[in-house]
Symmetry: C2
Subunit: 527 residues, 2 copies
């Protein structure tokens, strides 16, 4: 498939007039053809108008048709074959196995949402039978289901060029909910975006859906991105990126005449608490596991372990000694973009230059462009509590060990943390009582609490929560990974006293889709 650099607006290919951007191979600095000209207000207008016109028809599709659409997208992405993997490698510097794995995850995610759509739990069907004889007032017939919010703007993420980009989790869950999607492609991987965008465009046509169900735009965040969020036809936003970018979109969304929800996944340092017995009995293996999780993929994960907390003493010294031994052998990996590499280098430099921070060790320095040199630092809990900047995310393979005087101080640091995507306890059986004192704190700080693992690696399933209190996300009530991500794009509607012929199918007495329903408050499952 030849890349054209065109915007995809419905079934049309549009040449935009804005500034040209080229993808850059971060491993070589080489400019990759073609040029991608950014769109502006006109392209936002076209895409939003089409999306709005498709909105009712798309949300009215049957569960089966919508599920088939999601499966068709997955098949179309797979059908691109090697050219997708090759282009994505060039644009991101990520290794082949990672890209192939991420493609599998992306297509698996689309198929998971197909199964979610068919199961229909997301409709949250509730029926309340009429009670015409009730005193003093009769009860009318009341039924509830969730419906799609309307067109959704999705911002592709830099660090998951497939799984959180054009047809990633935000798009899949919005489609599953019945929302048309307008994607703003991330400028770091426009070719990957175009290939996947054409796959989605083809799936829309194959499934004979209205073309406005999907559009793909290129352009600057401050021009095109902000115009998209400000457009009155957009009803929700999905975003994965920096805290700065996410907060900017939140402000625009809130200052619209009709405010809309923004689901921004932004910033997390993913604290890991090494409890005393676990640290004492497993200092070496914990240190090795830690450095492995820290350096994987140049640390370019939202769930990278950026903060380690432990009580100072011999066991922590052994942990640090092994960590230092291990880190020096970590090979440099190419980061996704020059901008990300520069921000990483600045973050590491700030830590290295902070008088209250001690360097523990660096990984190998790379000679190639944009190489990530893993970095490990330490500080005391007192210093950490006194200097807010030490809690800021350094996106990449950098972590800070906080040495605490005792468990009481470690809990104090926990209570002072900002919201996180994850919080981890490393514990042995003997740590159970201590763990029980940490759990209530961590539940309030993070969307996912884990034991004896490392936070990198996010399972796409029904019980996953990839979310958490601000600034981890803009909305702690949501998850951007897993089947509950669909709930972000829904709202409930109650139907009072509607004749059967006017009722949405899911609410009819006959329950043609065999949905699980809450009948007078009691869960009823069909067999």
């Amino acid at each position: 498939m030849n890349l054209t650099g065109q915007l995809l607006i419905g079934q049309n290919e549009v040449v935009a007039a804005g500034a040209a951007v080229w993808a850059v191979n971060p491993a070589t600095g080489e400019k990759l053809e073609p040029a991608y000209h950014g769109g502006g207000h006109e392209e936002v207008e076209q895409a939003c108008k089409l999306a709005e016109s498709a909105s009712v028809a798309f949300r009215s599709t049957s569960l089966e048709d919508r599920a088939t659409f999601l499966e068709t997208i997955a098949a179309e992405i797979e059908a691109i074959g090697e050219p997708l993997v090759e282009r994505c490698m060039l644009e991101t510097g990520l290794p082949k196995a990672r890209i192939e794995g991420e493609r599998g995850r992306t297509c698996g995610q689309l198929r998971l949402f197909a199964s979610v759509v068919r199961a229909g739990e997301w409709l949250d069907v509730r029926l309340e039978s009429a009670m015409p004889e009730r005193q003093p007032l009769p009860r009318v017939d009341l039924r509830q289901q969730n419906i799609a919010l309307g067109p959704v703007a999705v911002f592709g993420a830099s660090n998951f060029p497939l799984a959180f980009s054009v047809a990633g989790g935000d798009t899949a869950s919005a489609f599953a909910a019945g929302c048309p999607v307008v994607v703003k492609a991330h400028s770091a991987h426009p070719g990957t975006s175009e290939l996947v965008g054409r796959a989605v465009q083809a799936a829309v046509a194959k499934c004979t859906l209205p073309e406005g169900v999907f559009s793909l735009l290129y352009g600057s965040g401050t021009l095109l991105g902000q115009a998209l969020v400000a457009d009155s036809r957009i009803k929700a936003v999905g975003f994965t990126g920096s805290r700065h970018g996410g907060v900017a979109l939140m402000k625009i969304a809130q200052s619209r005449p009709q405010p809309i929800p923004v689901y921004a996944e932004m910033s997390s340092i993913n604290p890991v608490f090494l409890l005393p017995q676990a640290l004492d009995s497993r200092a070496t293996s914990l240190a090795e596991g830690f450095i492995g999780s820290l350096s994987m993929g140049a640390g370019q994960f939202c769930t990278n372990p950026g903060l380690i907390l432990a009580v100072r003493g011999d066991a922590l010294d052994r942990f640090l000694a092994t960590a230092k031994q291990t880190i020096v052998n970590v090979a440099p990996q190419t980061m996704l973009t020059e901008g990300i590499h520069q921000a990483y280098a600045n973050g590491v430099e700030a830590l290295a230059g902070n008088d209250n921070v001690t360097l523990q060790g660096y990984g190998e320095a790379g000679s190639q462009p944009n190489a990530c040199q893993t970095g490990l630092f330490s500080t005391t809990a007192n210093q950490f509590l006194a200097d807010e900047s030490l809690g800021d995310e350094v996106f990449g393979a950098c972590s800070l060990v906080v040495e605490c005087d005792d468990l009481e101080q470690m809990r104090l640091v926990a209570t002072q943390l900002e919201g996180q995507l994850t919080a981890t306890l490393q514990m042995d059986d003997e740590d159970l009582e201590v763990a029980q004192t940490f759990l209530p704190i961590l539940e309030e700080k993070a969307g996912r609490v884990m034991v004896n693992g490392w936070p990198t690696g996010v399972e796409v399933c029904h019980a996953m929560v990839h979310g958490g209190p601000f600034p981890a996300t803009s909305d702690a009530r949501s998850s951007s990974v897993g089947s509950s991500a669909i709930q972000r794009f829904l709202r409930p509607v109650c139907y009072q006293n509607l004749p059967q012929a006017l009722l949405p199918e899911a609410l009819r007495d006959t329950n043609p889709e065999n949905l699980s329903r809450l009948m007078d408050g009691k869960r009823v499952v069909t067999v």
Copy 2:
């Protein structure tokens, strides 16, 4: 029970130093003792500190204990007996039967939430079994449940002194979710608030819960109310009131270092569409039903039918003729406060003075203070579309009939409306096809779509949605009435690989509370 005018902060009675406010009998203008001195930053600090300290213990109570607490509140409110009804009548001007009915609704609501807590559907328990043998990577054990957001600020509403005030729907649903509550009492009914507040305070003590579970504050909205929403320990806000007030709280909540959700139920004109056959066959009874709904309780309901839409012609003329005949006999009713009456009078005056609006009729004028004179006006669809102010809510018994050229124009008006709590179709069987063209529009405009009823009267049940797109509410994804209101105060947490002893009870293998659970995406109900 003697009223004291004291703030209730946990189990303490606090005399505040702020300006004194007295309740006023709106029917007589008489000042009612005692004085209520407003609190300020100090009282907010005390209440929030206590609420935070109670937060973990309260959300960790068993389902049974929390349900019992809700039932105890209901019993304590009932135990106040006649003094509550009498004081509430004095403060609101509402008739005895209405207050008694509202007390029944309030206690029924608390007991409904007790049953909701016990049923446990709100926990949304999801389990994903571990797959240690899975290739290429094993799957870890993942479990999810909802937990309480933390302390909630509740603003009492003027128009439901019991059902949406101190122990009303917001408080009941927040308690059900496991959130401590700090109430800012509405200044129009401080004595009613104190009586109910003491009932809640007694229930906290009887159930041996931490005292911070509940506090009741008096004070000004701009001082105490805003300080409460800005306090970092408050994690969500429930509000029922004006658009102006709700939007102000939204802005404060969004500009906090950690933004929080605000559930504000604000403004709705509840359009009613008279479809052609129904209007033709039932013009007289529709007009009578309409005036009944419009004038009930001086129109002081969020769901008052403030907008009627129909195609002009003989049938609409007959509807208007009957409406005019009926309205002149509507007796004046005392409005809740002087402020509400003044705003109502201003709104009616603005309509009466608008050259593009025609007066259809007034009800009886009252001679007593703050009497509501029902008002009915009409305009054309063209004028309505040209003058945004005609879509503003006039809180009280005032409504506007919009005459449309044809159904096409009626649909156009529908698409131009702001978000609403309700939208109603009056239809006969022959109107089905027309109704089908309206339904997708109304679903996107309102939280509740109804047929052949009137929007006043909101059933408290599982399938109710009392919500809708902005400006009806601040968050279209929520309902402030009915069991799903609990979902506003929850967020999901995922527990990865926790030992059974550390897992919250609801997530343990043994399922001790017999909860319905989503197992690997499939709904499993215990018997």
